[in-house]
Assembly symmetry: C3
Homo-oligomer: 138 residues x 3
């Protein structure tokens, strides 16, 4: 059985990291699937999905390290060609990748106690975003 | 329903980044699956799959950042033991990981408008590569 | 068909990298599934799963690069708030992500010849860990 639903987010961009665990869990609930896998996917080339302990310190640490690995204040070829100034956003999204898959066990996401699913918006402006949640199971 | 097909690529190595969206979409088409998930996986320890806006600037930016994170011109323990000179390739592939999962909705990959699926060959020589595409759905 | 099993690991923490290919393959065997996808997922916010050629040189190289990208000896906001000293572990786990999906073909994991599935424990102490393996297929 396959169940798919999309939800929307308003983000501030600039590595805005949002806890979407509740949104994903609600789709899993509505699917009626007991056991299977849940994939959350962001259709976009300047955003990613991963997991982290969602407390302000760890979230700030992640954003700082991403800024160090892929700085926003250096020159990107993408920007020279397209002038939209978000070359760093594209590189970050390609490194972090757009999806996460979490097992669903007896109707519950099999996350650790301190592990939340997060959406990262790397773009250089506020955005409205869709996240596709797909449950495959029985 | 599970449908699996493999396609082949000739690559130049050295962080050669190839748009494989069309190859993956063709397998999804042939699967006859309407709704489900599509996983593209590279069986190999010196290559990866992710998504990016496939335009030359962003692709060049990604390659540059990967070179900065995992330089090809420093010494690797792998090379001291095996002498094949591709220690950097192994580290890059482990960080970027070998697969991507994309939802399939009404027979279409649920990618963003500017989001393509890409194969990254990190090896230090030209290679012939297989990519396994697996569709699970109904 | 969905088949799920959990196995346990004892780790030393501090970027201890463990080959879990055999553990994952055993679950795939017991599932009785011939063709489908196998997801290995770690429920925890300080560990990750990826693939690498599991030889001591490449494993040491990966650990060194991770230490360079996310150093263990700098200050993290997470540590200031919680005092558990594993801010670096959380950031590493968020970047490397908690799961891997590998196709299963005729009952065999479709890994490359030199490609193993590895668990990375980024925490700052020894841990007992669970890994959830889920097989979806037919």
């Amino acid at each position: 059985m396959v169940f798919t639903e999309t939800f929307s987010l308003s983000t501030r961009g600039f590595c805005h990291i949002i806890d979407i665990t509740g949104n994903v869990a609600k789709v899993a609930d509505r699917s009626g699937v007991a056991n299977g896998s849940v994939t959350a996917f962001c259709p976009g080339s300047t955003c990613s999905i991963t997991t982290i302990e969602y407390e302000p310190g760890a979230v700030q640490d992640l954003a700082r390290v991403i800024e160090e690995i892929v700085p926003s204040n250096v020159s990107y070829e993408h920007d020279r060609r397209w002038g939209d100034g978000n070359g760093f956003s594209h590189v970050r999204a390609a490194l972090l990748k757009p999806s996460i898959t979490v097992p669903l066990l007896k109707g519950k996401l099999a996350l650790g106690t301190w592990q939340q699913i997060v959406f990262l918006d790397f773009d250089n402006r506020a955005r409205n975003r869709d996240v596709i949640v797909q449950v495959v199971g029985e």
